[in-house]
Amino acid sequence: MHRFANPAQFNRLADVILPWAIGAMVLLFGAGLYYAFWASPPDYQQGESVRVMYIHVPAAWLAMFTYMVTAAASFTALVWRHPLALLAGKAAAPAGAVFTALALLTGMLWGKPMWGTFWVWDGRLTSVLVLFFLYLGYMALWQAIDDEEKAGRAASILALVGVVNIPIIKFSVDWWSTLHQPASVIRLDGPTIDGSMLTPLLLMAGAYQAYFVVVFLWRMKLEINRRKLSVARQAMMHAPVGAE
């Protein structure tokens, strides 16, 4: 056991943060969805379809953010052998896969009326699809190896290899001239997006972020309890007869 890892302390911290995170999530989703669907104007080009963007864009952001969380956890787990970091990657990855799938699906739904097709094989879409496969591979590797710690470290190596995909996703729209529009919010010269659209976008991004925190902490607690259970089982099996 790593001397800085303390599952009990983590559980206590999670219990403190969780109610606030849940509260923030509910409020932000409420406000965000209100702005996204009622309190913002339709786009002069895209019409009402623009509202899909308020679901789509934060999902894509969080897909990459979650991957970076998984990769950072993997790095920590490999270098410092931190057992909680191993579980952190495992807890984050499914959320990331869901964000990625959501980004892909909403993108397709928006693409049909806007581009006339559900899917184009451009750099952005392809690299996000690869991201989705990386999440699947990471989770599959966790499942495939019996020894939990070895499974986690193998998956961590894969997660770190996959980091090369993140800059490809980010810059794909600049490197390849594609149908997908270039970045409009996170730019060096400031956002090129109107304030009436930026508000719901940022609110939704905050809501997704809060959702991630909630899911992540819940899954961490779950994984810690699962580990506790298996340790307790082992303790029972290997205890000398008659002891305790």
């Binding site: 495939a144 070895k150 193998a154 894969l158 996959g162 090369v164």
Partner: protein, 230 residues
Amino acid sequence: MNQSNTPSHASIFTAIVRRDVSLAWSQGGGSLLALGFFLIAVSLFPFGVGPAPQVLARIAPGVIWVVALLAAVISLDRLYQADFEDGSLDDLMVSPLGTLGIVTAKVLAHWLSTTLPLALLAPALAVLVNLPDGAYGTLFISLIIGTPALSLIGSVGAALTVAVRRGGVLMLLLILPLYVPTLIFGVGAVDAVISLTDPMPHLALLGATTLVATVVGLLASAAALKLAME
């Protein structure tokens, strides 16, 4: 030190490369299998899409690249697993050469014995799918530049799944997504020549992909192998 001289790493490296190449081409080795798959799978396409020369010419670069990639993959799951099962991976890992050297030697041997022959065979198979005349040189060059990446990236998947029972399918899931850039730039270069534009940017990016794969692939494979041997 008891030995009069410390072991020469270069000659250990050469010995591993020679052994692996010879194993790959001996009975039960994967190279002939991969080449046979390449030949048969490419010749299936005219049956699938019809023998119209224009259609075949249009898809020729992609067909050659995708099938070459799959042929490389089917030989990869034995890259470390064969040595793992018979115990020689233990011996390799305690060699004075070190894990990174072992991985480099084995990947180089895989490229020499399996993926490079695929590149050499490709122009001959391109005739079957009616590749336009001017594109043979670029197809060959793109495969020469790109195939090392196939061995390097594949090595990571093979090392990660070495101790997994029936890990072949899992290995596919892990490495095929990582092959996407190599495939895009490789096919892109050939398509560029066919559409009379400059293939150099594609080849440069393909080369960059192979360089990144060299660094990341070797380090990750070595880490994964060490982990598997614990």
